[in-house]
């Protein structure tokens, strides 16, 4: 084995790390460790000068391993790997020690934090000694794209890709495409008709020569990897399709308010959800169940949102929709009393604050409630009350317990992830966060991609969002997909498992544990064989192998055991 020459770089991250970790001491101490040629600390390692520092050192000191002790590898591992490539070093000869998210941001004792940082760096140094050069694998990209879900997001992405001349398979569970936008009368803040807006797009999709639409269809399991996926569309007739990328646009499910006792949904006649009101507007008449015109109309915001008993997140569109309804009701029923019972008005987005201001001038009363601890209570009115229902609430801005008369109550229900979200997540191999929305690769820097290469998430399946945000995300995903199709091939990780045939005894334990059927048995040689294309590198086979014949590349036993030693040895030294 060649002589190990490691360069260690400790990042200050401005004061993010340096405030809690004595970076200079860390750098000084680890420089003494065997194999370390040079150790430095620098303000921002990820900056261009920081990367240059590494590149220059690699050349000057003939380094063949690099450890950067900075933020989470989930953020900058690829940045530094690229720097290594630029310096002519194989990118896998690199390891990161996470001393920001796992040290400086979470600890309060500087001495202990510094000590912990040193051990983490020592672990990384030990690990990197065992790193080996790995070649990136190139895969061809199938130019077809699968889009799951035919709402505004799926439709937008489909048209972008198809208009660029690439094949799209659009799979929709319902019997028509258009999703919730097609069910909207008007949209905030400009009061365009949702139906009219999406209809031309629906027509284009249905008639596009490059788009194959599957209605009343589902997708079961997606096999393969980026560039080379395949799946079966489950419909009346099953169809096998092949595609290079997947865009998941499964959308939302409205929150069902019947579980909230205070709101009496389903128990009193004229308590309806926002979607039911939308339907009334589409049908052209807002009436009570008995056919008469309501005099007092209350819109209750945040139903099922921003409350830990239901969903903690904000559904983002209900405030503006409620204002939209206030406007629509004001024009439809000029004599009515309109009450917006809200928690906070969240009027972000272009034109939205202005919309709020204008609505507040339209004779609408705004009443604030505590959406976490103190929901309004709806009850049937008495005979002398001159209205059908009374809403009792503690109004936050005045601190008074008040009564609001109501003949119709509209519950502004929030958004949930689609009921099939979990199924789809498993089918395409992406993760969901606690509330069943899909997790993006990076919440800020890569909100369209997922951690699975070639799978993108758009629209409300990622988080509640409005139409422009959904369309933006859809178009962004389409651009990403088109870019990979354009390059036609892609580099993929090669951290797959590999079998040492000399050691393998052919027990086939690995075959049983592999979730991707990526391992087969070679009867002739009496050994297991890994199909590197199907293998996703989880390493389960490696830890199950009784003879140690299977190595998980870049997560080998030596690397991890050595890392453990490193973590602990430093501990004993101090």
């Amino acid at each position: 084995m060649e002589e190990v020459r490691i360069g260690v770089y400790v990042c200050w991250c401005g004061s993010n790390i340096a405030k809690m970790v004595d970076v200079e001491e860390v750098s000084r101490e680890v420089e003494k460790l065997p194999g370390v040629v040079i150790a430095k600390d620098y303000k921002y390692m990820c900056s261009d000068p920081g990367q240059d520092l590494i590149i220059q050192d690699i050349k000057k000191h003939n380094l063949n391993r690099v450890v950067v002790s900075a933020c989470s590898p989930r953020i900058h591992e690829l940045t530094f790997r690229k720097a290594l490539e630029n310096a002519g070093l194989n990118q896998y000869m690199f390891e990161m020690a996470n001393i920001r998210e796992h040290v400086s941001w979470v600890h309060t004792d500087r001495a202990e934090a510094t000590k912990k940082a040193k051990t983490l760096v020592a672990g990384a140094i030990n690990r990197v000694k065992w790193h080996e050069s790995l070649d990136k694998r190139h895969v061809d990209i199938d130019p077809a794209t699968l889009i799951i879900g035919g709402g505004i997001s799926g439709i937008s992405a489909a048209l972008e890709i198809a208009n660029a001349g690439k094949q799209v398979y659009l799979v929709e569970k319902a019997d028509k495409i258009g999703g919730y936008v097609a069910k909207l009368d008007l949209t905030f803040p400009h009061m365009y008709s949702g139906k009219d807006m999406i209809q031309p797009k629906i027509d284009k999709v249905m008639n596009h020569e490059k788009i194959e639409v599957f209605l009343n269809s589902m997708i079961d399991e997606v096999f393969g990897y980026v560039g080379n996926f395949e799946a079966t569309v489950k419909a009346k007739d099953e169809k096998e399709i092949k595609f290079g990328n997947v865009i998941v646009a499964t959308g939302l499910k409205p929150f069902d308010p019947s579980g909230i006792d205070n709101y009496q949904y389903g128990k009193l006649p004229d308590i309806i959800t926002s979607l039911e009101l939308e339907e009334m507007f589409i049908n052209g008449q807002v009436t009570k169940k008995d056919g008469t015109i309501p005099k007092n109309i209350a819109l209750i915001h945040c139903v099922g949102s921003r409350n830990t008993n239901y969903h903690e997140y904000c559904s983002r569109t209900c405030c503006m929709s409620a204002l939209k309804y206030a406007n629509q009701l004001r024009s439809a029923l000029p004599e009515s009393n309109i009450f917006n019972i809200y928690a906070d008005i969240r009027a972000f987005g272009k034109g939205c604050e202005e919309f709020y201001t204008n609505t507040s001038k339209k004779n609408v009363m705004f009443l604030m409630y505590d959406q976490q601890n103190d929901l309004p209570k709806i009850k049937k009115a008495g005979t002398g009350d001159n209205c059908d229902m009374i809403i009792e609430m503690n109004e936050k801005l005045s601190g008074e317990a008040i009564e609001v008369p109501a003949d119709m109550v509209v519950l502004m229900v929030g958004m949930k992830a689609h009921e099939n979200a979990k199924e789809i997540a498993h089918a395409v191999g992406i993760s969901m966060c606690g509330n069943e929305f899909y997790i993006e690769r990076h919440p800020k820097l890569d909100p369209v991609a997922t951690t699975t290469d070639g799978v993108y998430i758009v629209g409300t399946c990622q988080s509640p969002k409005d139409i422009p945000d959904s369309v933006t995300q859809a178009n962004a995903a389409a651009a990403r997909v088109l870019a990979t199709i354009n390059v036609a091939h892609m580099e993929v990780e090669v951290t797959t498992a590999v079998v040492n045939e000399d050691v393998c005894c052919g027990c086939q334990t690995c075959i049983n544990v592999c979730p991707y059927t990526a391992i087969s048995y070679d009867e002739e040689k009496n050994v297991s064989v890994v199909n590197e294309i199907l293998c996703k590198g989880c390493g389960t086979c490696g830890s199950a192998c009784p003879t140690g014949a299977i190595r998980s590349r870049h997560f080998t036993d030596e690397q991890i055991l050595s890392q453990i030693e490193g973590l602990m040895s430093m501990q004993l030294q101090i």
Partner: protein, 353 residues
């Protein structure tokens, strides 16, 4: 207690001078933060604005807080939403003036400019009729005028003003469930007159010294003139020092009300920017009263009144309109409500502490 929200309440306030911006306030609380007069537990203007937006009339009737505001305009200048809290407080005081007045005439005059004009004309005609009935006999009319003033004061006080103050007490103390110890009632009563004549609390507001001085001189001039004409018979007396004192008080009244009128016209400060009809009637009649009284005595002294008795007729009209309409049913009552509000609020503070 009725705690039902009332979306129509704001319409009532439009007629009392609040503009259509009732919903502009988004309750940042800057107004309360900059207010020099608000205290712990005695919070305004924000809270009163909230009651107004929600139409909680009972709550507003029970709040004496609007009367603690001297309209320095800081809140309005600070308001990020241009919701004009100062003017809303002013409109709320008008609403309370109407609310506490038991006959309903104040409500009529505050909301209908025409009705007040008609009432003023009717009073003028009545005075002319009385003059006609007395054959315009100078001595008889002046004698009548003097006793009219006296009886007006007695009647207006006992029939209108005292019951109104009792109503204010009923709403802001009894209905608001203020339970103060007896001792605090005595303290509140003792502090009443100090506030009534000095408006000492104004000094808590910044930039108010000149305004306070003008207001103080008008109050002193008005009260002096009242005493000198009604109880010391200014127009009949031979006592030179009383005559001179009368000139001074009358002069104070019309000179400084004239200044106040100019500033209302110039709209140079927040509190001058919006004037309700009742503000104008109040100040114009105060001015006319001071001026006509001054001129009547002057005409007596230079022996012109006999040939110009129309002047006294005008003066008599002005003071009758004043005493019969503008004092009991107009802005004059702020003199009482403001002073009593301080005492009632002291009771509230005592009950909370």
């Amino acid at each position: 207690m009725n705690n039902r929200v009332d979306p129509n309440f704001k319409n009532e306030l439009y007629k009392l001078g609040n503009k259509e911006s009732w919903n502009d306030c988004f309750h940042c609380g800057n107004c309360t933060a900059v207010c020099s007069l608000t205290e712990e537990n005695i919070v305004f203007p924000r809270k009163a604005i909230r009651y107004m937006q929600m139409g909680l009339k009972d709550k507003l009737a029970q709040s004496a807080e609007p009367w603690l505001c001297y309209y320095c305009g800081d809140c309005t200048e600070t308001c990020p939403r241009d919701a004009n809290p100062g003017e809303i407080m002013m409109a709320l005081r008008r609403w309370q003036t109407v609310k506490y007045e038991w006959t309903g005439l104040a409500g009529l005059f505050y909301k209908s400019f025409t009705s007040l004009i008609v009432a003023l004309i009717l009073v003028a005609i009545a005075i002319l009729t009385i003059g006609f009935m007395k054959d315009f006999n100078h001595e008889a009319i002046m004698h009548f005028g003097h006793s009219l003033e006296f009886w007006l004061i007695i009647c207006v006080f006992s029939i209108i003003l005292v019951p109104n103050i009792i109503r204010m007490f009923y709403f802001t103390v009894i209905k608001a469930k203020v339970k103060a110890p007896i001792g605090s009632y005595i303290a509140a009563f003792l502090s009443l007159f100090g506030h009534m004549f000095t408006q000492i609390k104004t000094f808590k507001c910044d930039k108010q010294t000149t305004r306070w001085l003008i207001h103080f001189l008008v109050v002193m001039g008005y009260l002096g003139l009242l005493v000198i004409t009604v109880f010391l018979d200014w127009f009949g007396t031979e006592n030179q020092s009383i005559i001179n004192l009368g000139y001074i008080t009358g002069g104070l009244v019309f000179v400084f009300t004239f200044i106040l009128m100019i500033s209302r016209l110039s709209k140079n400060r927040e509190l001058n920017k919006y004037s309700h009809s009742t503000d104008w009637f109040f100040i114009i009649w105060l001015f006319l009263m001071g001026l006509t009284a001054f001129l009547v005595r002057l005409f007596i002294d230079i022996d012109l009144l006999t040939n110009n008795f129309w002047l006294y007729m005008i003066h008599l009209m002005v003071i009758t309109q004043w005493g019969l309409l503008l004092v009991p049913f107009g802005k004059w009552t702020h003199f009482l409500y403001r002073s009593f509000a301080v005492s009632f609020i002291n009771l509230k503070k005592a009950s909370l502490s």
